[in-house]
Amino acid sequence: MLHASHLWLIPALPLLAAAVGAAAPRTARRLPVALALGAIIGSFLLSLAALAGALAAPAAKLTANFTWFWAGSTAVRLGWLLDPLGALMSVLVCGVSVLVFIFSTAYLRDDPRLGRFFTCLSLFVAAMLGLLVANSLLLLLVCWELVGLASYLLIGFWFERPAAAAAAKKAFITTRLGDLGFLLGLLWLFHATGSSLFYDGGAGVLEGGALERLAATTLPGGWTAATGIGLLLFAGAVGKSGQFPLHVWLPDAMEGPTPVSALIHAATMVAAGVFLVARVFPLMAADQGLGGVPVHALTAVAVIGSVTALLGALLAVAQTDIKRVLAYSTVSQLGYMMLAVGVGAWEAAVFHLITHACFKALLFLGSGSVIHAAHHEQDARRLGGLATRMRFTYVTFLLGTGALIGLPLVFSGFWSKEAVLHAAELWPVSHLPFLAGLAGVVLTAFYMTRLVSETFLGRARGDGAAHAHESPRAMTLSLAVLAVASVAAGWIGTPAWPWLQSQLTGAPVAAHGLGEGLGLMILSTVLVGAGIAAGGWMYAHSPRADDRAPDPLARRFPGVFAALVARLWIDEFYAATVGRLLRGAAALAAWLERWVWGGLVSLTGRVAETTGEVNRAIDEDGLNTGFDRASDGLRDAAQRYSRAQTGEVQGYLRAVVVGLAVLALLLVWGGIR
């Protein structure tokens, strides 16, 4: 059991490790590693204690608030919040982090900047944990930005590579666009409610009074303050969670080391957006029952989520880089989560977030194992035939794949995706998101089958794959633990036993058995089967001969495939629109700078120059003569007096005694009494 006022310990441990690691000499390689591992394990244990505390009273929002500083008469208050959502997420983040840390010790064993890597990882985890236990939107934003900074450092960890440096910048700038919305939303919220605390014994922004006031505040055009704030906050989540249209940074972020990818895409950074939306769900939902609102905040979330889910799955189909396939898959799955939040089932979103964290971490670490074994070859076309050489990795990768595509009944992904789709099906506004989700299911099964077949089946098509060996123990250990979690994590939220949902909402959710969603389950099973069949027919049935052979899909649908390979020209579109706009603006600014402002500046300069000339004349001819003479006098006098400083002790003493003698004579004979 951990009291809310001690929650700060959870992020403080990794933060301390990061601070010490940063201060440690560059030659000390082991110290940051040991510190980071110790700190994250300590945080994990603390998180478990916190979870125990939270589950003891699921509905109670246990908080510990304090005043940071006073701005005038307004207190800026921060605090810690202990509820099942935050505690579960902490356990998840810490657990995955522990495994990723262990994996990294083997994966980056020979890297000269191992210590720096673990320092950054610790900072990253610390920021993420701080974000989870924060009871203040302001504190959350601080940690949010720290997460961004740490991700920038980690994606650009191999900064010698231009691609990595560019990807780091891209991730940072793209997410910053969303963060701008977040910041505006925060300011607006603070302005409207005078508080940034989530829960404050009735006075917090997520509690009744504030929500009613926000929903009642109307703006021109029928908007309410709640909608505006919700949409702005969602903009931050869009950036962080790689939602359309800001998803472009996420696949590029694969330039970072694979453990970083696992951490970013599985548990921490991308989860932050979903977590934010889930955390402020009451605010997002505040405008729900109101008529006359043009767009409800949650509707926007659902639409964006469904588009992202479909788009990510589509783009994943044509990728050849293992990690990029997984990255687009992450984009797609994040879309599912947003979709779930948008249709009001935020607990389903969190459920999917948890299961996804497990199996996506597994898949990324598995791909890392493959890449490590294949001498940093990550193009699936040049791999193949690894099933026999890396049996353990293959089996765990298969388990992860099963969880991702949602093989029925056993695998976790099935249950969580079923919960999401079930909620989407019941959404009264539109059926389009539901249909997009179903399409995504097919595509997911298809591209994962393609990936597994190309990577593991057939025969080796490159030197790296031909000489691959099973990875070291530290890697396979992490894989084994995650594989177990990938399978088992789904059992906590089945329709027959919705434990997770009832803990999250704080109210018992009735077990409705399998009957209600049975049709949907059968439907998705069929769709999954279709996807596997199509993938297997195309790729596993007749594996490609060598790495130059064209993709089977490209032979059948060349136009579609080319469009997908080009990622639907979204990056090019940005370059052509936003980029050109910016370039034009820059050119305009340069022109203005050179001819208009430049002229003004030159004129001002000329005026100043002339004034200066006049001043100089007055100074040199008038004032300086006097000063020069005074300075000369001063210097001469100083020289004369410095001659008294002979360095001879007796001279000084003599002076002292003469002074004393004069004093004594005055006192004795001079009549001064």
Partner: protein, 102 residues
């Protein structure tokens, strides 16, 4: 002339002698000995007021003992300094030791 006045007069004269030694002798050793003489003059004052003063002056006697002990320490360190300076400058004229730079 009372004994107390005599003591004070002798003390003043000794102090003067020591001071003159410090001021007009060029040799560091003699300067140090002059300082010792000045200390002695001060000791004499303590003793004089212990003996002829308004009473309760046991502290005066004890203080002289301490003063003598400290003077011995001072002499030892002073002479060691003189030797060190001599080794460095090949001179014990106090006027030659007029630079901070060694």
């Amino acid at each position: 002339m009372s004994p107390l006045h005599l003591c004070l007069a002798l003390s003043a004269a000794l102090f003067c002698t020591g001071l003159v030694a410090v001021l007009i002798r060029g040799n560091a050793i003699l300067v140090l000995l002059g300082v010792e003489l000045m200390l002695n003059a001060a000791n004499l004052n303590f003793l004089a007021f212990w003996r002829f003063g308004p009473g309760g002056g046991e502290a005066g006697l004890v203080f002289v003992l301490f003063s003598i002990a400290v003077a011995a320490a001072e002499a030892a360190v002073g002479m060691a300094l003189v030797i060190a300076v001599h080794r460095h400058l090949r001179s014990i004229r106090i006027a030659d030791a007029n630079r901070l730079k060694g």
